[in-house]
Amino acid sequence: MTTPAPVEPAATSRTAGRDVALVSVFAALIIVLALVPAVPVGAAGVPITLQSLGVLLAGLVLGPWRGVAAVAVYVALGLAGLPVFAGGVGGLAVLAGPTVGYIIGWLPATFVTGVGAALVLRRRRGRLPGLILAGAAGGVLVTYLGGWLGLQLVAGLDPLAAFLGGVLPFLPGDGLKLVVAAFVAASVHRAFPDVLARRAAGPLPAEAS
């Protein structure tokens, strides 16, 4: 035995620990939101599942890298056979089904949402509209791009039919979820200012004062 290995600075280890835990807990959060009985919303009482809300929140709260990791963990658990997708569905069959595009689309979508959220949180003002915009660019635009392409590829629909059948009917509900997600994310960032904002901004001199 020679000299003991240098002990890592506690801060690094703590950051890594928190990152692992945040990724795991958000994957679990998406599972819980997907499995909670659907909430009736609006005058028509259309039930909406909160699965896509969970995916949006991963990007808006955790930023690009940890957000994508949380969604990837969620998807991996579902593909491995745990019934964690909306409606208690699990297994590789979702990869062969017509909704494959949405599920794969979540990964780039979460990255785009997360980059947007990190940028928005550098500023103190206009966070809510900024978070809505970030979610619209990633969670809505990129997810539906994936779903739309997937429907054409797997279900053999032409572009217009894929849009009318697979995108348009879901846009109102997702618009609503997007606004909810932005409100929730803004509250979370107020409660825990260092979850994403300080990392995104770095040590700003202004914050020291």
Binding site: R14, I31, V32, G91, G97, L157, A161, V188
Partner: protein, 215 residues
Amino acid sequence: MRRPALVPAHRPGTTWLHRAPAGAKLAVLAVVAVVVVVVVTARSGDVALLLGAAVLVMAVLGHVAVRTPRRVWGGLVVRLAPVLVVLGVYQVVLGSPWRGAEVVLDLLGLVLLAGLVTVTTPTDRLLDTITSLVAPLQHLPRLGPHLHPDRVALTLALAVRSVDVLWDVAVQARDAARARGRSRDVRALVTPTVVRAVGHARATGDALAARGLVD
């Protein structure tokens, strides 16, 4: 409100399909899926129809061989049925009946084939396979350390363990929202859930670091 049990779709057994390595089954499934999608996209009429029929027959024979419970394969078919009906009718009305048959056969065949892999492979073996697929990425410069197999395995296990905690948190938030007469307000349900989730994650992360489980 009881949490639905996270029962994996895997059914134990001893057939050769159960014993085949998970990686091999995933590779075969991936190859078949890519071939089917490429052929369907290329729109080569009877070839696509024959291929779809072949995949479907293969999947059905597989399910018969491993004696998949009816509830499992029935579930796959029932979930897919509305989509198949819509797609079939759409193709018959606006496209061609051949194309409709093609799409229905292909989708049904692929979904049943994928279900066959899920039924014959334990969830943890599939997760191990996914972890080992990510393993080569651990040599990437900045992202690498985060993708070390140990850390990926820890993250996956911790996620499953966290579901119970978060379910309780969500149920409490729902009851609290209901008590305030806001049971239809998604914000009142989700905001406290997520805030407490982040708090729980930070405590858990500090505990992991204190025990030296993550470095």
